[in-house]
Subunit: 117 residues, 2 copies
DNA sequence: TACCAGTACTCAGCAACACCAAGTACCAGA
DNA sequence: TCTGGTACTTGGTGTTGCTGAGTACTGGTA
């Protein structure tokens, strides 16, 4: 999707991953794969792993090492209480932003309508 | 709104400003003031000016110096054809992202409902 | 006159984040 | 043995918004 999505993901990717973990615990490789399935085709593994380490260090998730039949052990992340709280903040920040932008979008549509008549 | 909104603004603030200019040409100080009125109370002047210089260098806006009765001359920015095109891309990128996140939000709501019953 | 507040823009340095690229390690099947 | 899939790590880069200070011009006030 070009460079715009890269910048737009900053700050939101974190929320997306936390939201994913809220639905169900998961490990890095799995999360990356799911994101790609959901349309974030350009997401790089390194990005996701770095993000997971960050949210772990902030105490938003609990980690458990689980052996895998095929490869190194998996680090399974699950959202904890603090993470849920943080996710709630994310939703409200996101909603605020989305509302403003939606409003702007409608303002423009209205401006264009006036221009056309 | 804390640090979350700072990161979330990355990439979107540009679109917000371009969208503002699409409605009506404006100068930096004015844009900053409008953003604050719209709820982005923490927006700093320096951020907006830097952004304006960036989009000017990318050729997304035209600039015109207009004398002011009270203070230094104003640099009035207006969206040009290239900027409109770029703004269209912004809308589509944004819509994609907003859709995914909205979907995630609903997934969580559904998960919680199941948990409660 | 001197000073301050409001207007309007500039600039150097910083922190956070996503990307890039390469690497490690483990297993199964050809 | 070697390839491909799984799974995680790490060092470096570029973009972006924030911080904080500075410049400059005007009008009002003591």
């Amino acid at each position: 999707m070009g460079k715009q999505s890269t910048e737009m993901l900053k700050g939101t990717l974190e929320g997306i991953v936390l939201a994913t973990l809220a639905v169900q615990p998961a490990y890095g490789y799995e999360i990356t794969a799911r994101l790609r399935e959901q349309g974030f085709t350009d997401i790089v593994e390194g990005t996701v792993y770095a993000l997971l380490i960050r949210i772990e260090q902030r105490g938003l998730v609990d980690v458990e090492k689980v052996p895998s039949e095929k490869g190194p052990p998996r680090k399974v992340y699950s959202l904890n209480a603090q993470g849920s709280e943080y996710l709630e903040e994310f939703w409200s920040t996101w909603s605020f932003l989305a509302d403003r932008i939606e409003q702007l979008h409608q303002n423009i549509a209205r401006t264009n309508d006036q221009g056309e008549n």
